[in-house]
């Protein structure tokens, strides 16, 4: 279980998060919504170790990991994608999965489903955005994460792409894996039957304990 307790975050005097409390059990699917600038991405960054909160704690299965560096979060099974896809323009996609040929063979259907097979040897600028987004997800999934955070994956995607993306997530994310989608477009979250909670005034409503 991943617990976020009393998280507070300030940016240059402005309080963005004002006491966020939530406990996330493995396997839950959560949709985190809220208007622009409400702090959703900030919360995601903190929950995945990329930002440190001014106050509060992050507890993973009883251990306090608040001040761990981001790579440790990743190694503990907390993975994420990025709002703007981050790829190296000089490397082919196959290299950017950072995995072995073994693993690629074993997960061939997932790659096929993502439409990635045709683009394995392509450079990022030759690849459509929806596929790039799936690559980021696949890269995380190959390591069997316990918690996967998606940062506004719908940005830049048309309705059909979004539909496909949702199908992909439903198909390939285990029941065991906890998925947190930070979004302000509802379609995706509804597609994956997520529990929708909202971030407002720096706090979460709809919930403390999520079963």
């Amino acid at each position: 279980m991943l617990e976020l307790k009393g998280l507070k975050k300030l940016f240059k005097g402005i309080t963005v998060l004002n006491g966020v409390d939530i406990s996330i059990k493995q396997g839950t699917k959560i949709g985190l919504s809220g208007g622009n600038g409400t702090g959703k991405s900030t919360l995601l960054n903190i929950a995945t170790g990329f930002l440190t909160p001014e106050e509060g704690a992050i507890i993973l299965n009883g251990d306090n990991i608040t001040h761990f560096e981001a790579w440790k979060f990743a190694r503990l099974g907390i993975k994420r994608t990025f709002q703007k896809v981050r790829f190296n323009e000089a490397l082919i996609l196959k290299e950017q999965l950072y995995t072995s040929d073994e693993m690629i063979k074993r997960n061939l259907d997932m790659l096929k489903d993502a439409g990635l097979i045709d683009y394995l040897y392509a450079f990022p600028n030759e690849v459509p955005l929806p596929i790039l987004r799936k690559v980021e997800v696949i890269r995380a999934l190959l390591e069997c994460p316990r918690y996967l955070f998606l940062d506004e994956p719908s940005a830049g995607m048309a309705a059909t792409d979004l539909h496909e993306f949702g199908e992909f997530l439903k198909e390939h994310i285990d029941a065991d894996t906890c998925l947190v989608v930070v979004e302000h477009r509802m379609e995706l979250m509804k597609k994956i039957d997520a529990n929708i909670i909202e971030l407002r005034d720096g706090k979460l409503d709809n919930g403390n304990i999520i079963a």
């Binding site: 991405s41 990329f50 930002l51 440190t52 981001a70 990025f82 709002q83 703007k84 940062d151």
Partner: protein
């Protein structure tokens, strides 16, 4: 009493550092570009000016604009060759590296123009004052005064004028500025010219206090300018001013205690310590926090 005199000497000498650092900080602080060829372009400007002056033999009043002219010209050359072609986000490092290649080039050209170990440089002939048993070098007092004025003027220009707004816009995001109708090329070139003029003023004042110029001047400017800026806080105009004075003060005391050879050791030790303990410098410039650098949004 000795310590006071040493402090005075140090702070006054530090005015030279402040002057150079101010020119540096205009390009780095506002444009966020690291021009490693700055010192060399000033040396080249001075070298050409001396060569021209040799032929024309004018008085010092005409010499000064000649120095300013060639310093800005050199700096503009650097801008066109090293910075204009790399005006993208990724281009920050490439332009820095390009600028140090040109640093090597300009230093070599200057060595050809000034082949001797030292050349005389016109001095302003300002005398040293005495006050209450302490000595004050008049020319260095002038330097501090001018450095102060320059930083005030720069501050006004960058933060209170239309040019300043345009400059900051272009530095923040050249693409957005272009969309708003800014001629980014012109703005960048003008800024480098301005930095060249400032540098020319600095070079003139510094060299006139020494009454000579050596081929190492370019290197000296670059190193001392960088150190002064780092101590004060990279990117801060006020930091450049105070950083220079502080550097002068510290150097004076250390070389008094441990000998003149220690001057350089002091410079680099201070720099290293500042970088390790407080990279933001005196002004506490924010360099890196929580995996988000200034322009990064994850």
């Amino acid at each position: 009493m000795e310590y006071i005199q040493i402090s005075i000497d140090g702070i006054l000498y530090g005015s030279s550092y402040s002057l150079i650092a101010l020119g540096f900080s205009l390009v780095f602080g506002v444009m966020r570009r690291i021009n490693l060829a700055y010192g060399s372009s000033l040396l080249l400007g001075v070298a050409i000016a001396l060569w021209v002056e040799n032929k024309l033999n004018t008085s010092i009043i005409f010499f000064i604009p000649i120095v300013l002219f060639f310093c800005s010209l050199s700096n503009l050359y650097v801008e066109r060759f090293c910075f204009a072609p790399h005006n993208t986000k990724a281009g920050v490092v490439v332009s820095m590296i390009s600028s140090f290649a040109i640093w090597m080039q300009l230093d070599e050209i200057s060595s050809q123009l000034l082949p001797d170990r030292t050349h005389s440089f016109p001095s302003l002939e300002i005398s040293t004052f005495e006050f209450g048993g302490l000595f004050f070098r008049g020319d260095q007092i002038l330097n501090i005064f001018i450095a102060f004025i320059i930083s005030a003027v720069l501050f006004m220009a960058v933060y209170k004028t239309k040019y300043g707004i345009v400059l900051r816009a272009v530095s923040n995001s050249a693409d957005t500025a272009k969309l708003m109708g800014c001629n980014t090329n012109l703005v960048n070139s003008l800024t480098f010219i301005l930095a060249g003029i400032l540098g020319g003023i600095a070079a003139f004042l510094v060299l006139s206090t020494e009454s000579q110029v050596t081929p190492l001047f370019g290197f000296w400017c670059t190193v001392k300018g960088l150190v002064a800026m780092m101590i004060g806080g990279l990117g801060s105009l006020t930091g450049a001013f105070w950083g220079g004075l502080l550097l002068g003060l510290l150097e004076a005391h250390f070389s008094y205690q441990f000998g003149p050879v220690f001057r350089e050791i002091t410079t680099f030790s201070i720099l290293l310590i500042v970088l390790i303990i407080r990279p933001g410098g005196l002004m506490g410039v924010n360099i890196y926090k929580d995996l988000k650098s200034r322009d990064e949004r994850i």
